[in-house]
């Protein structure tokens, strides 16, 4: 499905990540109450100081902005069906993107999103794809075995980002003399095509702008270097000013057609799931068009060093298996040159094989498998996949939302009667239920926001569902998160500045020092003066906007109502009241680490 069709456009470059990381820690932020984990009698400035101290324990960016931008990113190639070409006029055009990086689950690493307004490939007046947002980018299939030689924070991991852009939302292709864009513009006119899907992989994340910090070959020296970098950042932060510390990743991506029935937020192609115990190899995706098999290995083959040399797995056979796991046909083989670093960077991890027509016919109804020549299975197809329509859901306490998952069989939506087991999962599976797909191949269930919390849900389709007792395994399971923002009882609070500051604004004043650059959240006069703008930026209808406030999407409904009552009231005098902040520490219970909590472990929780 999707971007694996031709024509498609390839791009490559880098992305900078600048999230505030303080809310990743249960000791400093309470995701249930959506507020800072306050310490008795401590002021917001004290919290800021504590966040800076925590840099030495992994809080690598307390002065961040959440902004994430592509840089040094260009169109790297096009494929109109004849393989990757680099002579098209579109090749070399810059790719511009700026989003806000936000986790639905603040403590974990499985639910990252990029809120943004537009993606622009190319420039105005030139060859260009101009793509106003339909919905946010979502991260899925995080692969913790990807860059083993880059061991710092989440430097080992890679992840797939995907969203789709509807033709009805202002999507524009300015083709000029680009045959690839002309082909894409023609293809998109097909009534079966809803728009374009953009999928990219980020990998080899570097912190403190120093790749050597991830080199664990000498652990003692690595620790010393990391400590020195943390100390240097602390020094800058304590010196005041605007001191973000963005991390950076490499990026490869592809732009292709978004057809009816295809998911927006993650690959809906045939899924070849990573094999437990296999050589580090992440889940791959596949599509067969006629006699062409296209594999997406964008998130699959690990690197063995910091020069990003791809692991040599030798010849990899693509095999069709019957339901007992026996070979039906070998569809083709990949040599190392098909998936090495040069090939990966040239084709964004996509590999195309020509199939024998007979083998293609067999493969249509068989499970695909990637297997090394020594017999080691790297990945095997799971024919049924249930993919949530909304991967990261936000609720207010008291709300009930209907969550829907679409079930696919080998990448195609199924019909009625397929059972889907839904497992609610925090650190481990706690609740399961089974639903049957409707005529559209969808199952739905209610998510009840009974209290402030973050929940994960795992979907296991099929009659013989085996519920993953360890909870979410992002390489294998499909899942969604639901964050319920609590009702903290603020509707009864008088709309005084003290209440607004202590119960609402102090959360971001303390945790987001960069806000000082735009608005002094501890200044009642300034907050009141910018009331109309604040109302616009916090309006739930603007939740998807790049500039929505708060960036981390954790303003509770009763907080908003209290703020608005204050903004609608008489203008206060200009008086800073930071010292009025008092509260009590919300203790975070200890967790026994589980497999599913690996994401939180990456954040130091």
């Amino acid at each position: 499905m999707s971007v694996l069709e031709t024509p498609h456009i390839l791009f490559r470059g880098k992305v900078a990540w600048d999230p505030i990381t303080t809310n990743n820690y249960s000791t400093m932020y309470d995701e249930a109450t959506a507020s800072w984990a306050q310490i008795p009698a401590e002021t917001a400035q004290g919290f800021r100081d504590e966040a800076i101290t925590a840099v030495e324990n992994g809080n690598w960016n307390p002065g961040g902005t959440h902004r994430s931008s592509f840089f040094d990113t260009q169109i790297s190639g096009v494929d109109t069906g004849g393989g990757v070409a680099t002579v098209d006029p579109f090749v070399g055009a810059p790719v511009g993107f700026q989003g806000m990086l936000v986790d639905c689950e603040p403590y974990g690493a499985f639910s990252s999103q990029l809120f943004f307004d537009t993606l622009s490939l190319g420039i105005a007046g030139g060859c260009r794809i101009y793509a106003p947002r339909t919905t946010r980018f979502t991260a899925r299939y995080i692969n913790f075995r990807r860059n083993g030689a880059n061991r710092m924070i989440a430097g080992v991991a890679s992840v797939i980002w995907q969203t789709a852009f509807a033709k009805t939302d202002g999507l524009q292709i300015d083709a000029f003399d680009s045959p690839a864009l002309q082909a894409l513009a023609t293809a998109i006119e097909d009534p079966d095509v809803l728009g374009l899907t953009v999928r990219w992989n980020s990998y080899f994340t570097v912190y403190y702008d120093d790749p050597t910090l991830g080199d664990a070959s000498d652990p003692v020296r690595q620790k010393q270097r990391q400590a020195a970098s943390a100390a240097a950042l602390q020094s800058k932060l304590r010196g005041g000013g605007f001191q973000p510390n963005p991390a950076r990743s490499d990026v490869v991506g592809v732009v292709g057609l978004w057809r009816k029935g295809e998911p927006i937020h993650e690959p809906g192609d045939r899924a070849l799931l990573s094999s437990e115990g296999a050589t580090a190899f992440g889940t791959a995706f596949a599509r067969i068009d006629g006699d062409t098999l296209t594999l997406d290995l964008g998130n699959s083959v690990s690197e063995v060093d910091q020069a990003l040399t791809k692991q040599d797995l030798g010849s990899i056979d693509v095999v069709a298996l019957d339901s007992d796991g026996k070979d039906l046909a070998t569809l083709g083989s990949l040599t190392y040159a098909d998936y090495d670093q040069a090939a990966y960077e040239s084709a964004s991890g996509l590999v195309t094989l020509k199939l024998d027509p007979a083998a293609a016919k067999i493969a249509a109804d068989a499970d695909l498998c990637l297997r090394q020549s020594n017999g080691t299975v790297l990945a095997t197809e799971a024919a049924l996949r249930a993919i949530p329509l909304v991967p990261n859901l936000y609720l207010d306490q008291g709300d009930t939302a209907t969550a829907v998952a679409q079930v696919y069989a080998r990448g195609v939506p199924v019909g009625a009667g397929v059972p889907v087991t839904i497992a609610a999962s925090a650190s481990s599976v706690t609740v399961t239920s089974v639903s049957q797909t409707d005529a559209n191949g969808q199952v739905s269930f209610d998510v009840i926001g009974s209290q402030g919390q973050v929940n994960g849900f795992v979907f296991v389709p099929g009659a013989d569902a085996v519920v993953p007792v360890g909870g979410i395994d992002p390489q294998v399971t499909t899942y969604m998160y639901a964050r319920t923002l609590p009702d903290n009882g603020l509707d009864q609070a008088p709309a005084t500045w003290a209440n607004v500051y202590n119960a609402v604004l102090i959360n971001w004043y303390a945790m987001a020092p960069c806000m000082d650059n735009w608005l002094r959240l501890d200044d009642p006069a300034q907050v009141h003066a910018y009331g109309p703008m604040l109302k616009t930026l916090t309006d739930p209808v603007n939740f998807e906007l790049f500039r929505y406030m708060p960036v981390v999407r954790d303003m509770t409904a009763d907080s908003r109502r209290l703020l608005y009552r204050f903004l609608d009231g008489p203008a206060p005098g200009a008086m800073k009241v930071a010292a009025m902040a008092t509260a009590t520490l919300v203790a975070e219970p200890e967790h026994e680490p589980t497999n599913a909590e690996l994401s939180r472990a990456m954040r130091g929780n």
Binding site: K14, A16, S69, F71, D72, Q74, P89, G92, A93, P94, I123, A124, G125, G126, C127, F176, D177, Y208, D209, S235, K236, G239, G240, G241, F242, Q243, P244, N245, P246, R248, D516, N517, W518
Partner: protein, 343 residues
């Protein structure tokens, strides 16, 4: 068109002088661009604002790169804020006459001035543009100036380059754009970036990353037309037909060259706004000077002052003067006010 007087480069001191002039020019272009940018009310003229903002950010990068080159050669860059109206640092100007730079709210005059600053040696013969601009190089464009500098730097031995001396990098801001200069190769890369982002390539308007160069960015606003590919034509580009959507009336009624305005009879709010602008500007200059003098962490403090300046400018452009049909704008007059002042 700004043209820098040619001067033979024979010694390292000559290179220092030339680089110091370059730093002054890069820094000196910021206030007029900022003035035009912030004269646009929020939500108005988004396309024009985006273009001016993108140029302004790149000018900041260029200034840092020029400082990096000078520091790498063992020099000591100085920020010397010009006064407006007035000439930019260095003996520069079109046709042998120093060019006076004015602070102007967004207008065709402001954009024409910006185009003169950024004009390449040879302006491609695009339709529309042909009839409106006449060129006659007598001295040097900024691009030629940097090219001459590059030719001299290429002759220096490796030992002339001081590794990691007072360098500003992109670790905090401008990912992928600011980098340390430790060798001629780095300096050459920096100069290539500066020239191409300002002027584009000799025969087309794109910079080294295939984005639109400054001269043409301003041209789009000036002509109110998107610079558009025209495959198969002799020039390859046309101005339009797509309009950029500039609304010349959607601009604060700001006075030009506020540095020449006497604010003593204006409302206290306008005077307070001026004072806030002056304080933030002075803070920014002082912190920048520290940053390029071996305290890179101070760049964050300079950025903080830039945010303060932005807020102050927003207030100034909303503050009526004694003539209620006019508002004030920042003077960009440097007045050392802090203990940290180093100029």
């Amino acid at each position: 068109m700004i043209r820098l007087q040619a001067r033979p480069l024979e010694t390292l001191q000559d290179a220092y002088d030339l680089l110091q002039t370059a730093i002054g020019v890069e820094f000196g272009t910021l206030p007029p661009y900022l003035y035009a940018l912030f004269s646009i009310p929020p939500g108005k003229n988004p396309a024009a604002g985006a273009r001016i903002r993108s140029v302004m950010l790149q000018e900041m990068v260029h200034m840092c790169l020029a400082c990096n080159i000078l520091n790498a050669l063992g020099g000591a860059p100085k920020l010397t804020p010009p006064t407006y109206p007035g000439p930019l640092p260095g003996d520069i100007g079109p046709h042998g006459t120093p060019l006076d730079i004015h602070l102007l709210p967004l207008s065709r005059d402001a954009m024409q001035q910006a185009m003169k600053i950024e004009e390449p040696e040879k302006v491609p013969d695009f339709p529309v543009l042909k009839a409106s601009l006449a060129a006659g190089p007598q001295a040097m464009t900024i691009g030629q100036f940097y090219t001459m500098l590059d030719a001299y730097l290429a002759t220096l031995p490796p030992a002339a380059w001081h590794v990691d001396r007072n360098q500003i990098t992109d670790s905090q801001f401008f990912a992928g754009q600011i980098f340390a200069v430790n060798s001629y190769a780095d300096a050459n890369l920096a100069i290539t970036q500066i020239i191409s982002e300002g002027e584009g390539a000799p025969d087309n308007p794109l910079d080294f990353q295939n984005d639109i160069a400054h001269f043409y960015r301003f041209g789009e606003v000036f002509y109110d037309r998107v610079l558009t590919k025209a495959p198969g034509t002799e020039t390859g580009y046309t101005w339009g037909p797509e309009p950029l959507g500039v609304d010349w009336d959607a601009v604060y009624p700001a006075i030009s060259d506020p540095g020449e305005h006497d604010f003593s009879n204006d409302p206290p709010e306008a005077q307070a706004a001026q004072a806030a602008c002056d304080a933030a500007y002075a803070e920014m200059v002082d912190e920048l000077q520290r940053a390029i003098s071996g305290e890179p962490g101070r760049m964050g403090n300079a950025a903080q002052a830039m945010f303060d300046l932005r807020m102050a400018m927003l207030v100034a452009f909303r503050s009526p003067l004694a003539d209620p049909t006019k508002v004030s704008g920042p003077t960009f007059l440097y007045k050392p006010t802090t203990e940290g002042a180093v100029l």
